[in-house]
């Protein structure tokens, strides 16, 4: 009897769990999985808003692979991502250096770091800071007697210019600081008793303990950088001569402004495939388990 009652209770709990989970699953299905599934269908069509769609097979992919701009935007996006990953390390280093400070200082630093994340509005300010004729950056260079730069108008410099606002707008240090603060003090005290110095503590305690968070943040950083949109959109519109055109910007241009929904979706599928490969490699080689 007891066994039956236990099974009944388990069934009831399982039913309740399903009921509570169903809104989240439905939202995930309709706004997450279904659009992804539909994208795989849309990329095979020439899609119209009011007229019936025309099946074109792989023609959208053929068009994309015949277009040198497709390879250029993928290359631009990889360069941007590579440079962003260098920045990814910056907050980690700063957070580790903050570790030795007292808690009130850390709190102030956290506020300061979070403060510039005002939104994309702050990117607009950068547009004027970069202006070659009357921008702040060139004024500083001139006042120092240095030659001015063409910033957003220089194809060799433009991607770096897009990364720069990211340094100030980068907020994950909060997550790193929270992770560092969650490491038990006893571990450091024991290490200090053994005669460990600052870098030794960082190498043997802090970094291994941060590994799961670093793994997740690295992944998010790669995904975020590969889908960058607002910086180039606001600052350069992809110029000069497509030197700062990124994959997502090209997708938006194709699907929204050129109304080539199928072709835009096909490029989104290509980006999806690239990201999946990166994620699989990252999951395979970047161990998250602290004890391994």
């Amino acid at each position: 009897m007891k066994e039956k009652a236990r099974k009944e209770s388990q069934k009831r709990k399982s039913r309740l769990a399903k009921i509570f989970m169903s809104p989240a699953i439905l939202i995930q299905f309709f706004f997450g999985w279904l659009p992804i599934g539909m994208a795989f269908a849309v990329c095979l069509f020439h899609y119209h808003v009011l007229k019936p769609e025309e099946y074109v097979g792989l023609a959208n992919f053929q068009d994309l692979f015949a277009d040198p701009l497709t390879f250029q935007v993928i290359k631009n996006t990889f360069i941007y991502t590579g440079m962003s990953l260098a920045i990814f390390l910056l907050p980690v280093i700063v957070s580790i250096l903050l570790m030795e400070m007292n808690k009130s200082t850390i709190r102030i630093m956290m506020y300061l770091w979070f403060f510039p994340i005002a939104s994309t509005a702050s990117i607009v300010i950068w547009k004027w800071m970069y202006n070659t004729e009357y921008g702040l950056l060139n004024s500083i260079l001139m006042s120092l007697g240095l030659p001015t730069l063409r910033w957003l108008n220089d194809p060799r410099l433009v991607i770096f210019c897009l990364i720069l606002p990211g340094i100030l707008m980068y907020g994950p240090s909060l997550i790193y600081l929270a992770t560092i603060q969650s490491i038990p003090d006893e571990l450091y005290e024991a290490a200090e008793l053994e005669g460990a110095g600052f870098w030794s503590k960082v190498w043997h305690i802090t970094l291994p303990r941060m590994r799961p968070v670093l793994a997740m943040m690295l992944l998010l950083s790669i995904i975020g950088s590969m889908s960058v949109f607002s910086q180039p959109w606001i600052l350069t519109h992809g110029g000069p001569n497509n030197a700062s055109m990124m994959v997502v910007m090209r997708i938006v241009n194709l699907a929204i402004y050129n109304m080539r929904y199928g072709k835009g979706t096909a490029l989104a599928i290509i980006l999806f495939a690239i990201l999946m490969v990166i994620i699989i490699i990252q999951r395979k080689y970047f161990k998250e388990d602290i004890d391994r």
């Binding site: 957003l152 497509n242 109304m259």
Partner: protein, 534 residues
């Protein structure tokens, strides 16, 4: 008891049933007769709040309410509902497409943000309103209406005002630099060439004062220069395998790119950059950084507020001097430059924004919407619009040039409110003949938007890369266009369509611009168009 008798009960039941039937049929008849159209409004509150704005003494809202009431009295079978709608912002196109897909779009809308009128017709975004515009044919300026037609079918109506794209220049800068026309006025000559333009831009540039001769917004300036050569961006495919071929690397296009590149890097007389777009260009002129502005929308310059940002104008207007006198001292309008020995050739004639009627509505709603647009922009409604805008003082006079023939009797003459130079140039622009529209000859291009986005690359290269090889860049762009954008054939277009259109264009050029036709255009015709239908 009164209701006890069987006959009485039967009678009551009968009366009940008859009343029910009568009420129901009256309701259904009423419902059937009231045609509801959702008219877009911008800048006014939504829903019921819309009707409260009359209490705020907002003349615009009151006039709008007056128009709705009057129209409904004249047409008791039509009910107009207001729908707040983003008609003009940069995101308006995306919102409209989403609304069309969801079936929630307003009764009519501007097609400029959804790929232009021709694309909108091709994609089925515009209802066929030919049957409802027959009476309006004599009352609408054909040159600005022709783009709303495909063959003999009509798919749109112009908004009320026409506009042109003149060149605005700083009179005081010209005077200080000693640039005068034959009459001794601080102005370029009427037949000035691009070379004259370049010399003037260099002359009025003063890096110390942070003054530049010209601002170059990506796209706009390129278009202005290229159009003066009389070429077209896309040409018919001479092989007949595809419909269109790109014309981005024609000699005129390369010369345009090189000219712009030289202004920026050789003459250093242009304020520009990849971040410098239409809005930034206008603002640079209005804040006194540039001395000439190419491609200004003339309806903007007719607003009293438009030039107020210029400190000199603001100061004098604050002192109470009349608008037309103050503005004329600082900013005047002019034709854009042309090629040497081309006569006064320009394609810069007046044009108008086009509205399409929502094709997802019923036939009755489409008819009612067309009638409402015509009445509101041409009939009694428009007359009230004049008075409203005049009273509000936002515009000294609603429009210098109108797309509709409207009875303006009793209103003060335009010259009372505008600088003489503005009225003169607006009238000149409106008298420029417009070439025949491709669409009236059944021609279309479904991928025009994608094509123009390819041009962004060369255009931004011309203003930002000091050692840019414009020929090479344009060759590559054109190759991209031909292999990835124009690699298809439009249905229903034959060489006969091309022949009819380009020959009509030839007749037009020969008749209206004989010098340009003889010295420039005939060669372009033989090179770009003739091979497709020879």
């Amino acid at each position: 008891m009164i209701f006890r008798g069987k006959k009485v009960k039967k009678l009551i039941s009968l009366i009940g049933i008859v009343s029910l039937v009568m009420v129901t049929s009256a309701m259904s008849v009423f419902a059937a007769e009231r045609i509801v159209i959702k008219v877009p409004t911008w800048g006014l509150p939504e829903g019921k709040d819309y009707y409260k704005v009359a209490d705020t003494l907002d003349i615009g809202a009151a006039q709008s309410l007056y128009n709705v009431t009057l129209y409904q009295m004249l047409n008791p079978n039509v009910k107009i509902e207001h729908m707040t709608w983003d008609m003009w912002s940069a995101e308006a196109g995306q919102k409209l497409l989403a609304a069309l897909a969801a079936g929630t779009a307003p009764a009519f809308y501007y097609t400029g943000h959804i790929g232009g009128q021709q694309y909108a017709i091709t994609e089925g975004f515009c209802a066929d309103i030919t049957d409802y515009v027959q009476d309006a044919k004599d009352k609408i300026v054909w040159s600005v209406w022709q783009d709303a037609w495909r063959g003999d079918r009509c798919y749109g109506l112009p908004a009320a005002g026409m506009y042109s794209r003149p060149l605005a220049y700083r009179v005081d800068w010209f005077r200080n630099a000693g640039i005068f026309d034959k009459k001794g006025e601080p102005a370029p000559s009427e037949n000035w060439t691009w070379e004259d333009f370049r010399n003037i831009a260099t002359k009025i540039t003063d890096p110390k004062k942070k003054h530049w001769g010209i601002g170059i917004a990506i796209g706009w300036f390129w278009h202005e220069v290229l159009m003066s050569y009389g070429v077209q961006y896309m040409i018919p495919d001479p092989t007949g395998k595809y419909t269109w071929r790109g014309n981005l690397n024609c000699p005129e296009s390369v010369a345009t790119g090189q000219f712009i590149h030289d202004l920026v890097f050789k003459d250093k007389c242009a304020l520009t950059g990849t971040e410098f777009w239409y809005g930034e260009n206008n603002n640079a002129f209005k804040s006194g950084k540039t001395g000439m502005l190419v491609g200004i929308n003339s309806t903007h310059v007719t607003s009293v507020n438009h030039w107020k940002a210029l400190p000199e104008i603001a100061e004098e207007m604050r002192a109470g001097k009349p608008y037309q006198d103050v503005v004329a001292k600082y900013v005047r309008l002019m034709y854009p430059p042309c090629l040497p020995n081309s006569g006064r050739y320009t394609r810069n004639s007046s044009r108008a924004n086009l509205f399409a009627v929502n094709p997802l509505m019923s036939k009755e709603q489409i008819e009612a919407t067309t009638d409402w647009i015509l009445w509101n922009r041409q009939g009694k409604g428009k007359t009230w619009g004049f008075i409203n805008r005049y009273l509000r003082g936002l515009v000294p006079y609603p429009q210098v040039i109108l797309a509709y023939e409207v009875d303006t009797a009793g209103l003060p003459p335009v010259e009372n409110y505008y600088p003489e130079n503005y009225v003169k140039w607006e009238r000149k622009f409106s008298s420029i003949p417009r070439p025949p529209s491709q669409s009236t000859f059944g021609l279309k291009c479904s991928r025009e938007n994608e094509f123009f986005s390819v041009l962004d690359g060369p255009q931004s290269a011309s203003i930002s890369i000091p050692d840019a090889n414009m020929k090479k860049i344009l060759d590559e762009a054109n190759k991209r266009v031909n292999t990835t954008v124009f690699n298809y054939k439009e249905k229903g277009i034959t060489s006969e369509n091309f022949k009819a259109y380009y020959n009509a264009l030839k007749d037009f050029m020969e008749k209206n611009w004989p010098d340009f036709y003889k010295n420039y255009w005939m060669k372009i015709y033989e090179r770009d168009y003739l091979p497709a239908f020879k």
